[in-house]
């Protein structure tokens, strides 16, 4: 079995920054009702930086691993840079995702962009 990339398996089995963020300054939920994937991204932006970020939700290994990996990538970055992150950057960090599953992989990034809406990026 060719299987998933080790980075996906690792983040799926051992999710980082999973849980709620009570002090969040921005939050957004993205869902795919067709398969039941749900990802909530919560961010705390301080002086224009992503001071804290957590995800919660449920769904397939790819969506959950992508959410976990994304929190590691954007933690401590300028909020504007995190909000401007390209699809390709996340896909590359995941080690590549089969084209039939791009929606799953990008769900957390869509949620993050919403959570870091224009108001958040300026904070």
């Amino acid at each position: 079995m060719s299987g998933y990339e080790e980075v996906i398996l690792d983040h799926w089995r051992h999710p980082r920054n999973k849980g709620r963020l009570p002090e969040a300054t921005g939050s957004a939920v993205e869902a795919n009702p067709l398969c039941g994937d749900v990802v909530r991204m919560e961010v705390k932006v301080q002086d224009g930086w992503v001071a804290a970020v957590r995800f919660s939700g449920e769904g397939c290994a790819i969506s959950q691993a992508a959410a976990s990996l994304l929190t590691e990538i954007v933690q401590g970055k300028p909020a504007a840079e995190a909000a401007g992150m390209k699809d390709e950057e996340l896909l590359a960090a995941l080690g590549g995702v089969v084209r039939t599953r791009l929606t799953c992989a990008l769900l957390p990034l869509r949620a993050l962009r919403k959570a870091l809406g224009p108001k958040e990026a300026e904070r």
Partner: protein
């Protein structure tokens, strides 16, 4: 089933991700034998013209093929040719049924009765009909066994019920519903019975007389035929009272600037240029199935489904949905691997060339009832083999090892 029939299906010789294709998604759409592919292209190469109106030779030949396909479909389901309406698929057939019955049979305060196990194609047209007509839509519950709750059906059926619409074989649970029993009860309150037979007609002998319904819909592409053509069978006297959904050319007898007189069924429901080449190819698909014999088709599906059910039941990490008894099922099994999302299962199987479905299979209310946002589904047809079922089961063990 003679495994040599696999040679009739060109696509089965291709590889996917470096492995032989194991196609286990025939419930979504079936693969096509050469006879079907060639029938469609032969019509375009040799006999193509518009049907019914032309007086020249080509038009007559195309019309013969088009009407000949109707006769073949009618013979397959034990019906008369003029009771077979060609549509563009099951969804259009059910939309036609819901729209026309909404016009003629359903009014404010009336009820339309469906079931919780309907495909969206046999649910949303009725939601719309009920909304348009000020009627209400009710749904028969599905028992934990995956069977229709007939007690609930009898409770919800009343003189206010004008239409009972149900699936013959569930595309998720595989349940074969007791259509005859439901139809007899529905007819006792003068309700019209509409059946979604998309998963039954391709897989088992289905006679319109024995089924007992009034309108029955199915698709060409799930029974070895092409996309773009489907069937609405209707009892003659029921079809005659229904207005058309699609109006325009080919479906009228006489036209004035301010009004028109409908043609008789089936032409009344076939406005516009119909799927001519698709009909010719559907005719070839019906010939192919008749040569195999529908009893044999049913037996083969039953055999593979039994193997799959036994194999899945023997794996403690698998949850199976629907009736445990393969006799009470169509040729498909929905299941989940505990704690693993169906899309992950399907993606890993695809890596081995095994194509299964994962998702809600256009049955969201049913999945809500099952308490699962999505399921995996393996479905079987004439070209699948016991070895493929084994390969599928063995691959599941590897998915479980990788992700479980």
């Amino acid at each position: 089933m003679d495994p040599r029939i696999r040679d009739d299906f060109p696509i089965l010789s291709r590889t996917v991700n470096g492995r032989s294709l194991v196609y286990l998604d025939s419930a979504a759409t079936s693969q096509k034998p050469s006879a079907v592919i060639e029938a469609e292209s032969r019509l375009y190469r040799e006999s193509y013209a518009n049907v019914r109106r032309g007086v020249y030779t080509l038009a007559a030949e195309a019309t013969d093929l088009y009407e000949g396909a109707r006769a073949k479909v009618a013979a397959l389901i034990g019906a008369k040719a003029d009771e077979v309406v060609f549509t563009h698929g099951t969804t259009e057939a059910l939309n036609l049924a819901a729209w026309a019955l909404g016009e003629t049979r359903v009014g404010p305060g009336d009820e339309i009765l469906v079931t919780e196990m309907e495909h969206h194609a046999n649910l949303i047209p009725w939601q719309e009909a009920a909304r348009r007509r000020g009627a209400s839509l009710r749904a028969v519950t599905v028992a934990p066994s995956g069977e229709l709750d007939l007690g609930d059906f009898r409770k919800k059926l009343s003189p206010r019920t004008k239409v009972v619409a149900l699936v013959h074989v569930s595309n998720v649970l595989g349940t074969v519903n007791p259509v005859r029993q439901v139809a007899d009860a529905a007819h006792a309150v003068d309700a019209v019975v509409v059946v979604d037979a998309a998963q039954s007609v391709p897989h088992m002998p289905v006679g319109m007389g024995e089924l007992g319904a009034d309108l029955v819909a199915f698709s060409g592409h799930k029974m070895l035929g092409p996309t773009g053509i489907g069937v609405l069978w209707g009892r003659r006297e029921v079809l005659r009272e229904l207005p058309p959904l699609i109006t325009g050319g080919e479906m009228i007898r006489e036209v004035w600037l301010d009004r028109a007189m409908w043609d008789d069924p089936p032409a009344r429901f076939e406005g516009g240029t119909p799927p001519i080449a698709q009909a010719a190819a559907l005719g070839a698909a019906v010939d192919y199935l008749q040569t195999l014999g529908m009893d044999e088709v049913r037996m083969h599906g039953h055999e593979l489904t039994t193997r799959a059910l036994d194999g899945l039941a023997a794996r403690p990490y698998v949850q199976v949905y629907g009736p445990r008894d393969p006799v009470a099922r169509g040729a498909l099994v929905a299941f989940n691997l505990k704690g693993i999302h169906p899309h992950d299962v399907a993606t890993l199987l695809d890596g081995e060339g095994i194509a299964i479905r994962a998702g809600n299979h256009c049955a969201q209310p049913l999945h809500r009832r099952l308490g699962a946002p999505a399921t995996c589904r393996a479905s079987f047809y004439v070209y699948n083999t016991a070895d493929e079922v084994q390969a599928f089961l063995a691959a599941l063990d590897r998915v479980w090892k990788a992700l479980g």
